[in-house]
């Protein structure tokens, strides 16, 4: 046991003393979160909006007034027909439009229910959903304000239409994606490189010709990266909660437990690569091309899997990051518990087990 602890200490010394790598290790998640966060979810202010007021009554005017007063929107102009509106969308002059049907106030007063249409350019799905949310909440506010003065509640039903990308597929839930990427990078590449490095410098030969069990060599190499990766998970979550205002809706403990499972998956992959390669460059190349790319392509983080050809969809099932991404999304964004993700967890666990067994089996107690 003492041997083992000393070994792990030595591994930490390697990581700690390589300041450049350390900077990359801990800087990368921060930078990725910030880039993804601000590039994709930058708060939208003063968006150009068009209103088409076919009602021109008290209620519609009041709502338009509220939209105009909001810091999110600048009313570009009012239009009277669909063609004008469409042209404005196509030219990219506006991202969002609100349509009040004729007799809006009347139906609100008499039927206590009225419809309103919100249209958004969903080619940038993130912005689109945000803008429609803003409009919806303005309408909701208005509804609440008239509710107070009435005995029976009113109901304005906003009908939201996403133009160009109706289902908002691939709306970048980027935090889970970045988590998958960072863990993949740290665990797979760093573990592979650190083991192959020992092969290159000849120290692996000495370690093999010692009473120390080869499996323990591997294990003690993996532990520092497990811990580093958990730190990375924590820093990503902290950033997303406090900098990007994206809360963790589900259980944090569950999230960490699932992350640990995925980290073990990645470590097994890293070990496997290190067994099969003999140079650091090779290990790096395989990690990047063989692991990083599939993660980006097949996890569903960048490109919606549903839109892929069937064959690729099947392949995507073999990518562990896909399952991890689903799990994290469910916990973080949907706030679901274990009962909702046990299937994904089981699949990820299965993949991990296979990888772990294969990589430990293929780890040789000799050089060739």
């Amino acid at each position: 046991m003492e041997q083992f602890i000393n070994f792990v200490k030595k591994e930490f010394a390697h990581v700690w003393r390589d300041k450049k790598t350390l900077l990359i290790l801990f800087g990368m998640p921060v930078i990725q979160i910030l880039i993804f966060g601000f590039a994709l979810t930058n708060e939208v202010k003063n968006s150009e909006i068009i209103v088409m007021d076919q009602a021109k009554d008290q209620a519609s005017q009041q709502i338009i007034h509220r939209i105009a007063a909001s810091r999110y929107f600048d009313i570009q102009r009012s239009v009277m027909n669909n063609e004008q509106m469409e042209a404005a969308f196509k030219k990219g002059e506006i991202k969002v439009a609100v349509v009040f049907p004729a007799g809006f106030n009347e139906s609100l007063l008499h039927q206590r229910k009225a419809q309103i249409q919100i249209l958004a350019d969903a080619s940038d799905p993130n912005t689109a959903s945000m803008l429609t949310n803003y409009v919806s909440s303005i309408i909701q506010d208005y509804q609440n304000s008239i509710d107070k003065t009435a005995a029976i509640s009113y109901s304005i039903v906003p009908e939201i239409r996403m133009l160009y990308n109706p289902q908002l597929k691939g709306a970048p839930n980027f935090v889970p994606g970045v988590m998958a990427l960072v863990l993949m990078l740290v665990c797979v590449m760093m573990t592979a490189i650190s083991i192959v490095k020992e092969k290159e410098t000849g120290t692996m030969e000495v370690l093999l010709v010692s009473p120390f069990s080869p499996l323990l060599v591997i294990l003690s190499k993996a532990i520092p990266y497990l811990i580093l990766s958990l730190i990375n998970v924590a820093s990503i979550l902290l950033l997303s909660v406090y900098v990007l205002d994206l809360p963790v809706n589900g259980s944090v403990i569950l999230l960490f437990a699932e992350s640990t499972l995925f980290i073990i998956t990645c470590l097994s992959l890293g070990i496997f690569i290190s067994v099969k390669t003999n140079s650091q460059q090779m290990a790096m190349l395989i990690s990047l091309m063989g692991m990083f790319l599939p993660t980006v392509l097949f996890s569903g983080f960048m490109f919606p899997i549903e839109n892929m050809p069937y064959a690729l969809q099947i392949i995507s099932n073999l990518v562990p990051a896909k399952w991890f991404y689903l799990i994290v999304k469910s916990i973080m964004i949907k706030g679901l518990g274990f009962s909702a993700i046990w299937k994904e967890t089981l699949i990820l666990g299965g993949i991990t087990l296979v990888l772990l067994v294969v990589s430990l089996k293929s780890f040789k107690i000799r050089l060739a």
Binding site: E2, K10, A13, G202, E205, P211
Partner: protein, 306 residues
Amino acid sequence: MSSAFAIEVNGLRKTYGKEQLVAVDDVSFHVNKGELFGLIGPDGAGKTSIFRMLTTLLLPEKGTAKVDGYDIVADYKQIRKTVGYMPGKFSLYSDLTIEENLRFFATVFGTTIAQNYHLIEDVYVQIEPFKNRRAGKLSGGMKQKLALCCALIHKPTVLFLDEPTTGVDPVSRKEFWEMLKRLKAQHITILVSTPYMDEATLCDRIALIQNGKILSINTPQIMIQQYPEQLYAIKADQMYELIKALRKYPEVMDCYAFGEYAHVSFNGSFEDNKLKTYLKTEGLTQIEIKPVPPTIEDYFIKLLKN
């Protein structure tokens, strides 16, 4: 298990790759307990493959070998506990300090620096003043000393040193061999390989090896005695002209440069004056001819040319 020999090798063979390139070809030798045994041969002769098989890192294709009485295939775990090994390209952990490297290897072998300090003391005191310096910042000679300490720290019964002096300057090489001599006094069996022929005489016994085959095994002294011809050292003002002239001389059997002299052996009788006259007519001056005892290098050249 006990055995008369520290290392016993019988018909070891190893090939690599699809082309079955033969690295080690039917190699047999033994090393007595407490002996300093040298494997002498150029790069690519198969020295490293032999070392790796004996240290259980490679499986032999044919043949058997025992280290300390343990079979290199079946009892590999035992061997790993008892031997010390310094691989050729061994470069330690450059980001750890001298002390950290040593402590790490001590714990890997389940021991402490204090426990076997007496073994390494001799070598370690030379690098101890720099013990907080990272191994990456050490000189070649110092790295080599540290590597030796790391290989010795668990008090191995057999020490395998694969080309410990390659690329090291002559002064450091000399110091290293002096350390080995002192280790021998501690009853540690040492198997060392080197491409430097001049280091051969520092071993108790040596095996000359080329292309995976052992050409000869004996003590350096006996090898030198076995040299069949009388060797002459000949000097003149122009080395290259001298060698070209000698090679044209009919009685010359073999001739090659050897330091400031050319080493020459002759067919049948050799007349000093006749040769001198010939060399003078070839335009050479300051001619000196003297019989010399052969060295291991001469012996090796002889073996290679046959």
